[in-house]
């Protein structure tokens, strides 16, 4: 019980005691009991009123004052609806955008996994420290585990009630009722039990299904796949479906809302021991030093993360003993999407830049509202001076003014958040719709949760204080004398600091706006650069497809046979001019690297390589500048290689590269027969890395890209190619795309960010122009009398104009200069994250400030022209 409550509870008793004592005294003086009691009551006065007054002693202070402030605040806001609406809208815009982007980030990286009791789940990752050369095979994520490591942690730790391992993003071709490429998961057999997501129909896996390799071809499929592919047929459980070339028995259908434990929805789950059934010839299970399995553990009740770490570190140290020169540190964290150290390393800087950009717009909005409040405070100066002179404490006044600004910010925040909650799903779709067309569906929940609500509330409160504190502090110490006498103009007699404050506000708005606009300028230039760039080969008019015949069940000779017939059939399609094969298509994000040595030099060099058919160079229009291209008969076992110009220059400076020898890490040697022109085949925007070509052989046919140059419509060619493949084998899945589409993948990040920052800086510019316009017109209207005096004393209109212009443009110039400096710093950060961004792009850095200056000049000229036409007599009278 608080002191207040205790005191009030005792009051009743104290009054009764008092009355009894007084009555007793009266009886002692000889009154009758009735008379005595009556006299006591009369002497005490009105009991109810006494109680009420005592109550008020305790209550009035905080609650009533707050209510008073709120009532007064609402009344004040009501009285100037224009200002209130403007301020609330500005804050709604700023807070709403920030809450929207935060709820997306929350859905992507902060929300716990969408499974029952997610609080007990932790993700487990390992970071290796190598004394010398890193020695680790990586599939997907370097911080994941091998199968034997998983078994070690599962069987020897006692902190988990269950530990799950899974390989996400397993590609497979579903061969039932037509072909479909699907993404699934290879999971340990306790997966559904530990995650508490028991299949809605049928069952999950049982331990015996993971007991032996390749032993149990069972599968659980997603509810989505069940509906879209099998028409929600209840008899599917128990039947077989074919994934790649293996028949799997469907044992269960996953619950409807369960899409797996990764942001990309999983269509099926197979036991991890069936990994090789989907990827024939690739055995990950027995590779003890390969990162390919993500781990999720459900902690036993009462186990803390530090306790779990202590327990697991012992196991990590034991595994390290088998790998000399390596130490492992474990990362244990609440289970969310994108939680591995690798992913966070990328996500955190990107998220912070995005949040910072959105926060900057909110700051501009704050500066605007602060401006408005300062302007209004000057109008209310007489009221405030009156209250101060009546003895109101300054703190009390500040509190009241802050209550008003918090009212605005919370109203704005609530409005903005509501709009954001309604539109964040839309915003998310907007972002994902700009992803390349073959990007799989993303299962991220962007609906607001408690964390988002708390963020919205904190942001609103912070905003209210940010824009309210300075005006409140400033206007609660006005020059009492001047204000009361009605002499004070806005920043009247002590106007220096007031004017300075306004200038700081305008200057900082301009500075922030410059940063956002320059960043947008840089991004747009980067995007333009990426779109108009010549990649060094003819990218238009080429269709491409990747064929993984091995995965589709072909062995080597059959694959070569298929490929020969397929190429013949493609060549026969009308409109097709050339066909070529390559291990990696240009810009396909596939590449191979090896360490090479030059005889006589022990220092190894990293070189990317590609296996290509002889017609690759002519199809892509990459010229051979020296020597010759491969002959049709040349196969991979021939010793000839072709290097790029840059590689030749770097490997054999100032020498003729033809005939020079290069040794692979396997010891095989190749000699240079030709030099090809540099082209951006591996990385967009980068043509000078070391690159060499081998002729492809029959062994390349089981996993290969096919490139087709055509001269007719793409859709016709694509469907003819599909028909050609199905004529040979109806069970082969072929996905034909334009080679140009690979460019999209490279452009996507800049495109998304450019769209976002374009929208952001347009808003910033709008807010900033309103701010500058408001400030100037306000200061002109307050200096009408000054202008009148000057003109009465003979100043020309041009002089007045010049004076007003200079007064107004100064903070804009200073703010702009600061903004350019800040942008230079920010562009370094941006260019490291985005492709094709120049750090010191002159056009962005010059045109943006000039543009801003022009906008500011317009915002200044309109009110200043008013100042020019002031009639001195009217001006002097109007005060």
């Amino acid at each position: 019980m608080t002191r207040r409550k205790r005191m009030l509870a005792d009051l009743e008793e104290a009054i009764r005691e008092h009355l009894e004592s007084e009555t007793q005294d009266n009886i002692d003086r000889g009154m009758s009991p009735d008379e005595a009691r009556y006299a006591a009551l009369r002497k005490f006065g009105n009991v109810a009123r006494v109680k009420e007054e005592t109550w008020r002693v305790w209550h009035v202070q905080w609650l009533e004052q707050l209510l008073q402030d709120l009532r007064f605040g609402v009344r004040t806001m009501w009285r100037s609806p224009g200002l209130t609406i403007a301020a609330v809208l500005a804050i709604a815009l700023g807070v709403g955008m920030n809450v929207g982007i935060f709820s997306v980030l929350n859905g992507v990286a902060l929300r716990l996994l969408p499974v029952p009791q997610p609080r007990d789940l932790v993700g487990l990752n390992q970071v290796f420290h190598f004394q010398t050369q890193p020695d680790r095979l990586i599939h997907n994520d370097s911080s994941w585990f091998s199968f034997s490591e998983y078994l070690d942690y599962r069987d020897h730790s006692d902190v988990f009630s269950g530990l799950v391992a899974y390989e996400p993003y397993v590609e497979a071709t579903l061969r039932d009722r037509g072909l479909q490429q699907v993404l699934g998961t290879a999971a340990s057999c306790n997966y559904f039990d530990v995650l508490m997501e028991h299949p809605a129909r049928g069952r999950g896996f049982v331990d015996s299904e993971c007991a032996s390799r390749g032993g149990s071809a069972v599968v659980v499929i997603s509810d989505d796949l069940w509906h879209s592919r099998f028409g929600a047929d209840p008899s599917l459980v128990g039947r077989e479906i074919v994934l790649n070339r293996t028949a799997f028995t469907v044992v269960g259908i996953a619950p409807a809302r369960f899409t797996g434990t990764e942001p990309v929805a999983s269509a099926f789950w197979i036991p991890v021991t069936m990994q090789e059934a989907l990827e024939p010839g690739i055995d990950r299970l027995s590779k003890d030093n390969m990162s390919w399995l993500a781990l999720l553990g459900r902690m036993r009740p009462g186990v803390t993360i530090p306790a779990a770490r202590a327990n697991l570190d012992v196991i990590a140290a034991r595994i390290d003993r088998r790998h000399p020169g390596r130490t492992t540190s474990l990362a244990i964290h609440p289970a969310t999407f994108f939680s591995s150290p690798d992913q966070r390393e990328y996500l955190v800087p990107v998220a912070s830049v995005i949040l910072a950009a959105f926060a900057l717009v909110l700051l501009i909005a704050c500066a605007n509202v602060a401006n408005l409040l300062l302007a209004r405070a000057s109008v209310r100066q007489r009221e405030i001076a009156l209250r101060l002179s009546m003895g109101a404490g300054r703190w009390r006044l500040v509190r009241q003014l802050l209550t008003e600004s918090l009212l605005i910010s919370i109203a704005g925040g609530a409005l903005g958040s509501l709009v954001a909650f309604g539109s964040s799903a839309w915003l998310f779709r907007l972002v994902t719709s700009r992803l390349p067309h073959d990007f799989p569906p993303i299962a991220v929940n962007v609906a607001p949760d408690l964390r988002v609500l708390a963020y919205a509330l904190l942001l609103s409160l912070f905003t209210g204080i940010a824009f309210g504190l300075v005006p409140a502090l400033r206007s609660s110490r006005p020059d009492l004398n001047g204000s009361m006498k009605g002499q004070g103009t806005a920043w009247g007699t002590g106007s220096r600091s007031g004017r300075f404050l306004l200038n700081v506000l305008v200057g900082s708005q301009v500075a922030i706006c410059t940063v956002l606009l320059v960043a947008t300028g840089l991004l747009l230039r980067g995007l333009h650069h990426a779109q108009t760039l010549d990649p060094g080969f003819q990218i238009k008019g080429v269709a491409t497809m990747f064929l993984n015949l091995e995965q589709q069940g072909y062995d080597g000779p059959h694959a070569t046979q298929f490929m020969q017939r397929f190429r013949e059939r493609i060549r026969a399609i009308p409109g097709v001019t050339e066909v070529a094969q390559a291990e990696c298509a240009p810009l396909s994000h596939d590449f191979s690297v090896d360490k090479y040595t030059i005889p006589g030099n022990p220092e190894p060099v990293l070189v990317q390589y590609n296996h290509i058919s002889h017609d690759y160079f002519s199809l892509l229009g990459i010229p051979i500048v020296r020597g010759r291209s491969f002959a049709p008969a040349e196969k991979h076992d021939a010793p000839g290689i072709i290097v790029t110009e840059s590689a030749a220059r770097r490997l054999w400076p100032n020498q003729d590269p033809l005939g020079k020898v290069l040794r692979e890490s396997s010891g095989r040697e190749g000699s240079v027969i030709g030099v090809a022109k540099d082209a951006q085949v591996a990385h967009l925007g980068e043509s000078t890395s070391n690159y060499l070509y081998y002729p492809s052989g029959p062994e390349d046919d089981s996993r290969t890209y096919i490139l087709v140059r055509y001269s007719t419509r793409f859709t016709d060619v694509a469907s003819s190619i599909r028909d050609a493949a199905h004529a040979i084998d109806p069970g082969v899945l072929v996905d034909v795309t334009r080679l140009e589409d690979y460019l999209e993948v490279w452009r996507t990040p800049s495109r998304i960010v450019a769209a976002l920052s374009g929208a952001l800086s347009t808003l910033a510019l709008l807010l900033c122009s309103i701010g500058v316009y408001g400030m100037v017109s306000y200061s002109v209207s307050r200096s009408v009398r000054d202008i009148g005096i000057r003109m009465a004393l003979g100043a020309g209109r041009a002089d007045v104009m010049r004076h007003e212009l200079w007064q107004a443009i100064r903070p804009v110039l200073i703010g702009g200069a600061v903004g350019v400096g800040l942008s230079a710093a920010a562009s370094g950060v941006l260019s490291s994250m985005m492709f094709g961004l120049g750090t010191h792009d002159l056009i962005a850095f010059v045109s943006v400030p000039l543009f801003l200056l022009a906008v500011a000049l317009v915002a200044i000229l309109i009110p200043s022209r008013r100042a020019m036409h002031i009639d001195p007599v009217v001006a002097l009278r109007c005060e």
Partner: protein, 119 residues
């Protein structure tokens, strides 16, 4: 209302009751009724406080932590709340007494015949 027992009464100025309570408690802890009695008695019944108004004043002083309150038994062995000065209250009493003396002197000076002529 009967007037026969009413002498000349003076109404208390705002805030003076606080001072009187503090001064009364200087002699030691007292319960509410005793404080009222003491104020009446020591002013020869001129300052007759409406006894109920004592309680808001007492609570105001408690809230400012100038007095504290404990449970105890009164002289005729009833349970009662006892109020006592705190260290801060003692300090405050000195300050308030000083202020009151100044005020009283100033008013007396204005009201005295000599003072009026000077003005």
């Amino acid at each position: 209302m009967s007037t026969k027992e009413q002498k000349e009464r003076v109404e208390l100025l705002q805030g003076t009751l606080d001072l009187l309570i503090l001064r009364t408690l200087q002699r030691g802890a007292m319960h509410g009724h005793a404080i009222a009695k003491a104020i009446e008695f020591r002013s020869d019944d001129v300052l007759q406080v409406e006894q109920g108004s004592l309680y808001p004043a007492l609570h105001r002083l408690i809230k400012r932590r100038w007095i504290s309150v404990t449970d105890g038994a009164s002289e005729n062995n009833r349970r009662a709340k006892f109020y006592a000065l705190t260290a801060r209250g003692r300090q405050q009493l000195t300050v308030e007494t000083g202020k009151w003396d100044k005020l009283a002197r100033a008013i007396a000076q204005i009201l005295s015949p000599g003072g009026q002529e000077e003005a």
